[in-house]
Subunit: 296 residues, 2 copies
């Protein structure tokens, strides 16, 4: 009998929380403040969307559990570092994240800078120390993660986002920005989980890329809808921030109801991309639903 | 006949400059400003001490030229990113680096933050894309670089340095801080060059570690001597900054002449550590001399 989605999700979240705790440096080790702040920002919060994608894709490709834990923690550390740096005064200048004071508020700016830098190194270290897969596969995963994190991926999207503040963007420009800023790491999560199982045929990689593209855009459309409609307590971060910052969003370009309709269409696109995998893609389908139907 | 040291050094520096240019994203690719700033800060300057160590060690272990170029560029990108972040206002707040305005001055703070982040990813990508060595060896090199860059290496040393401002440090505490802050990446450079040749026996790794420890400390002692005695134009960065910031240095703890004597002792220690390798370690010996005898 298949485990209900909610139980599966809770199981993965618990496993990832435990693994992150083990893979992060001990707060008792020097330098204490840096290690404490790395743990403060990474542990005990977040929806763990990226680790869930790693595990869901891993389930489809019969991946090794220890390799999945490392891939999931690596991608979550990259995500966590990006949040710490994005929240800094010279970027989005945000005080609240996952319902807690951001690192530069709880500690100081220099510590926030170093926490992000050290988390990025830690992510590559955790992945490189995978010893339950052939080295060739580990190298492929490291290449994928590095490309997704860098200037042709997440950092590049962030740079385009910065340059776009106060500019009118077309829907195509907005889409390209988000495909890099959040989409690249979501896609990497899906492919990392698969590679933890085995090498992929080109048509399998194409199907996963189509799925990832749909959920990546859906994720952002829903983020914009929630930013425009939910309150800060529900979101665990400052609501209405995009409008206040005059940032282009799906809601500002398309309007609220068309944005909701787009998210629903993207959910159906994601399901369709998974069709070749049949029943085995259950967890990836359920995650597409979760991403579109979430309330925070 | 052996190529004179100066010619060998110039050859490596030119080769690294060319390889960095090829491995960095094209400034014509979106996002332009980010890519332009990554190239601005990495190309056209610097002594390339770390790449020189990679090549010198590679020469000793018969390393593949293409693997050496990747390892040298990876370690130089980690070094370059750390300089960009260290110069930011929330850290050392420095306006001048390698004789040019720092990235946050020439561009802006947000760009400096992203340039550092993207350079770190790029470093791991360049190394992971090594395709002239067995994957097992590439994974070993990635583990080494990640550990040297992270909270148990360079970032950790930076955190200890921050916490030490205005505190009286003992010589032992100062040494430990520098062994992480600069020593970890210098050691990684030496070992990466060797691993690009072949796997190392424990006694070879020990000898390289002893050499690296000596030149790492020597590097810092000489830095402190130069900061206290040279001018900004010669250094290409702001001179006298440590004293102005009330930072503990070898000169402030030991005095100027004893610091010079210590650097010379460390140079001899480095030579001694290389004794088991005989004549083949020529370039590593010459680099120890360069590090101690440099004027900037």
């Amino acid at each position: 009998m298949t485990v209900p989605f909610g139980d599966w999700m809770k199981g993965v979240q618990d496993e990832v929380e435990h693994a992150l705790g083990a893979f992060l440096p001990d707060a008792g080790a020097v330098p204490h403040k840096l290690h404490e702040a790395m743990r403060y920002t990474t542990l005990g919060g977040g929806k763990r969307v990226r680790p869930l994608l790693v595990y869901a894709s891993g389930a489809l490709f019969g991946a090794d559990a220890r390799a999945l834990a490392r891939a999931a923690c690596a991608v979550e550390m990259i995500h966590a570092y990006s949040l710490v740096h994005d929240d800094m005064p010279c970027m989005d200048d945000d005080d609240l994240r996952r319902g807690k004071p951001t690192v530069h508020v709880a500690y100081d700016e220099a510590t926030a800078l170093l926490v992000g830098d050290a988390l990025q190194s830690q992510a590559f270290q955790v992945l490189a120390e995978t010893d339950t897969l052939p080295p060739k596969q580990v190298v492929a995963m490291l290449r994928l993660l590095a490309a997704a994190a860098g200037s042709a991926g997440m950092c590049g999207g962030q740079a385009i986002d910065l340059d776009s503040v106060g500019h009118a963007l077309t829907l195509e420009q907005l889409e390209r920005m988000h495909q890099l800023k959040t989409g690249a790491l979501l896609r990497a999560s899906v492919v990392l989980g698969a590679l933890a199982g085995r090498e992929l045929a080109p048509h399998e990689l194409d199907a996963l890329a189509a799925y990832s593209k749909a959920i990546g855009l859906a994720f952002q459309v829903v983020d914009d809808v929630l930013d425009a409609t939910a309150d800060s307590a529900t979101l665990g971060k400052t609501a209405g921030k995009d409008a206040a910052d005059n940032k282009p969003t799906y809601v500002s370009i398309l309007g609220l109801e068309p944005s909701r309709a787009l998210a629903e269409q993207l959910r159906r696109d994601a399901h369709e991309a998974l069709a070749p995998f049949g029943e085995q893609a259950l967890r990836l389908r359920e995650l597409a639903d979760l991403i579109v139907q979430r309330k925070a």
